[in-house]
Amino acid sequence: MAETRTAPPERNRAPTGRGGPRARRKGLSERALARLFIAPSLLVMGLVALFPVIYAMVLSLYSYTRRQRTGFGGLDNYVDALTDGRFWSALQFTLTFTVTSVAAEFLIGLGFALLMNRTFRGRGITRAAILVPWVIPTVIAAQMWFFMFNVTPGFINTIFGLGDFSWIGQPGWATFAIVFADVWKTAPFVALLLLAGLQTIPAEMGESGLVDGANAFQRLWYITLPLLRPAILVALLFRTVDALRVYDLVVVMTGGAFDTESLSVLVQQFVVRTPDPGFGSALSTITFVLILGIGLIFVRMLGRDIMVGRGAER
């Protein structure tokens, strides 16, 4: 809608500009000039962002024995990857991790954000305290939670009197521990994004809801959440894409044991640990496409949302 509003005047101006003698004297049209100016940055972005992706796609078509290229393999690497049970179990873990961690982070983050959005004494300190986990580097947070959950030294077992319960030494609970560490670390980030969204919502909206006799839950459900939708989508997009790439938590906490191997861990193994650049690139391309696809769905929803939002404003 925004597009159609601004487009007509330009379209009207363009033909006369391009055909008229004035434009020729000036040289390039405004639009062409803009393209020219943007071109270098697009080129740089293209090189930085697209080159590695395309290069990986090219590599994925060759077969290798360790680091030595042995010939063109076509789609063999993809067939190998998609028929490997290991890929599917890594995908399963990655999706389980993403869904559970993002859901928990969203709920906890929303709670934090609503809390931080209120005015009360010590709000500044509360905000700072909530953000602390997010500032800690992931590997360090992971190592910390490893020590918390592991049997030695076993802080969690000591605190809750669980004896020698092996959290990260068995399937299921190992996944739980990793999700837990991720939620602990990134819920504040979600809270931060949602808080930014909350602060754009005028207080009068809630107040008029109050006047109309809506209770707290109704105000949250019918006023705050719908208006927060764009911020929620941005937060979910960031977290989902991030969670799909999970690597450091897994490597530090379990090393991929007990059904906790993620796609990124698998990719890293074939790119770096036991190099097979062809197979590794195929895996990373599959991961890329998967994440891109999920990312696009969010961007789609987000784009529509912003447009619908703008339309509603007018």
């Binding site: 360790r66 680091r67 290991r86 580097p137 590997v139 360090i140 190592q143 910390m144 490893f146 020590f147 592991n150 049997v151 030695t152 030294p153 076993g154 020698d164 319960f165 092996s166 990260i168 030494g169 068995q170 399937p171 530090v252 379990t254 090393g255 991929g256 044991a257 007990f258 059904d259 193994q269 770096v272 640990r273 036991t274 190099p275």
Partner: protein
């Protein structure tokens, strides 16, 4: 092997920061810029490579004696896998940032086949004469010498002398004695390295080898993997976990968590490397202090002892700008009693020079090493070792932990080994 002397949380975090921050070695743009002689860079990792560690002392000793070619340590991460990755990144790019490489005994084949390291055939006679045979063998591949032995390693059985009278000679005995002693003392029987990583493969191989199993024949042209034996030892380990012979932390423990359990008095027995001896001896607050001793590792059959051979050799990078000086350094570090003795006296890092063991036979660690090293067995230093190890971890770790079928796990290992022979 991987030795860590750092403390719990702070130590672990520090190590990870180091791992994250260690550059690929490109930060030393000063070498190769036409200076005659010039500084050598020694890419080595682990606790002893850190400031104050024995590798640093060895580097200082060399630099004092060779002011024209001083050597500087480029500190690599703690974990062997990550050290290899850092070196591979530099070498894959044919970078001259590293002159001397600290090479784990299992990387020899891979590095030589990739053309990353210089042949040391010119100084072979000198090195062969001075070194222990097992360590020397670990530095060769395809009949050629690719690295100079530097330090070696073998696993010990640590046991509590106040809880058991004498060390068991079979793993089954260990569990029987251990469970009884642990119950009486209210602690756990045994810990080793059971997390899913290289150390797990080492532990598993010690059972498998001591039952008489082999991976390959001598020149690695034929697979001798015995699935029946492999299934037996895997079953033994699975039972040991299920029946509580292995402490609950076994399947997530690397060297340091295992040491902590022993040092805090939580286990009767532990399989670990020699470095633990000095640390527990110095820790007067430890319940194990003064109440422990070391013994050769038990076997499945009760005969002899067997340990996986660990350690690091020094190789010369094929892309070094200063190869002659680098070769001089690695030869010196392998054959001069001074650096070799430093390893033993300063850090309980087992040297590779035979004569040092005779000189230091009063030291209990060195005496026991002298006893077990002749029976220590190197993992095949094949170019594929890393892939084999990852596959063994993937197949056997779940099987040992009661997830998945043991028979199909050992068969998949055999199939993978078959696939490495062409």
């Amino acid at each position: 092997m991987r030795k860590a002397m750092t403390w719990l949380a702070a130590g672990g975090a520090f190590v990870l920061v180091m791992a994250a921050c260690t550059p690929g070695g490109d930060d030393n743009g000063d070498d190769g810029d036409g200076e005659a002689g010039g500084e050598l860079v020694w890419a080595i990792g682990g606790a002893e490579a850190q400031p104050g560690g024995v590798h640093q002392q060895v580097a200082e000793l060399w630099s004092e004696q060779n002011p024209d070619n001083p050597i500087r340590i480029e500190l690599l991460p703690e974990e062997a896998d990550q050290q290899r990755e850092q070196q591979a990144l530099e070498l894959q790019a044919e970078g001259s940032g590293f002159d001397v490489l600290g090479v784990d005994v299992i990387w020899t084949g891979e590095y030589s086949e990739n053309g990353w390291v210089e042949s040391l055939e010119d100084v072979r006679a000198e090195i062969e004469e001075a070194s222990l045979p097992g360590a020397f063998e670990s530095a060769t591949w395809g009949g050629e010498l690719w690295a100079a032995p530097y330090n070696t390693n073998a696993g010990f059985l640590y046991y509590r002398t106040d809880l058991v009278e004498e060390p068991p000679t079979t793993w089954a005995d260990l569990c029987q004695v251990g469970v009884a002693a642990a119950e009486a003392a209210g602690i756990q029987p045994f810990i080793g390295q059971g997390a899913q990583y290289e150390g797990f493969v080492v532990n598993w191989l010690e059972y498998y080898w001591s039952a008489g199993g082999e991976l390959y024949n001598e020149d690695q042209t034929e697979v001798l993997f015995d699935t029946e034996l492999a299934a037996q030892v895997t079953q033994f380990m699975a039972d040991a976990i299920a029946q509580g012979c292995y402490a609950p932390g076994f399947n997530t423990a690397q060297e340091e968590p295992a040491r902590n359990e022993f040092q805090q008095g939580n286990v009767v027995f532990m399989r670990n490397w020699p470095y633990v001896y000095g640390l527990v001896n110095e820790d007067t607050g430890s319940p194990a202090n003064g109440n422990f001793d070391i013994a050769p590792l038990p076997t499945v059959t009760g005969e002899g002892t067997i340990s996986a051979l660990g350690g690091f050799n020094n190789a010369v990078s094929a892309f070094s700008d200063n190869k002659d000086a680098a070769i001089d350094f690695v030869t010196w570090a392998a054959t001069d009693p001074e650096p070799q003795t430093l390893l033993a006296t300063e850090a309980s890092v087992p040297p590779t020079m035979e004569s040092v063991y005779e000189d230091l036979s009063d030291d209990p660690v060195m005496a026991l090493l002298g006893e077990v090293l002749p029976d220590a067995k190197p993992r095949p230093p094949a170019p594929q070792w890393n892939e084999i190890s990852v596959e063994m971890q993937r197949a056997l770790h779940p099987a040992v932990n009661g997830q998945g079928d043991i028979q199909s796990a050992v068969e998949s290992v055999r199939d993978f080994l078959e696939g490495t022979i062409e």
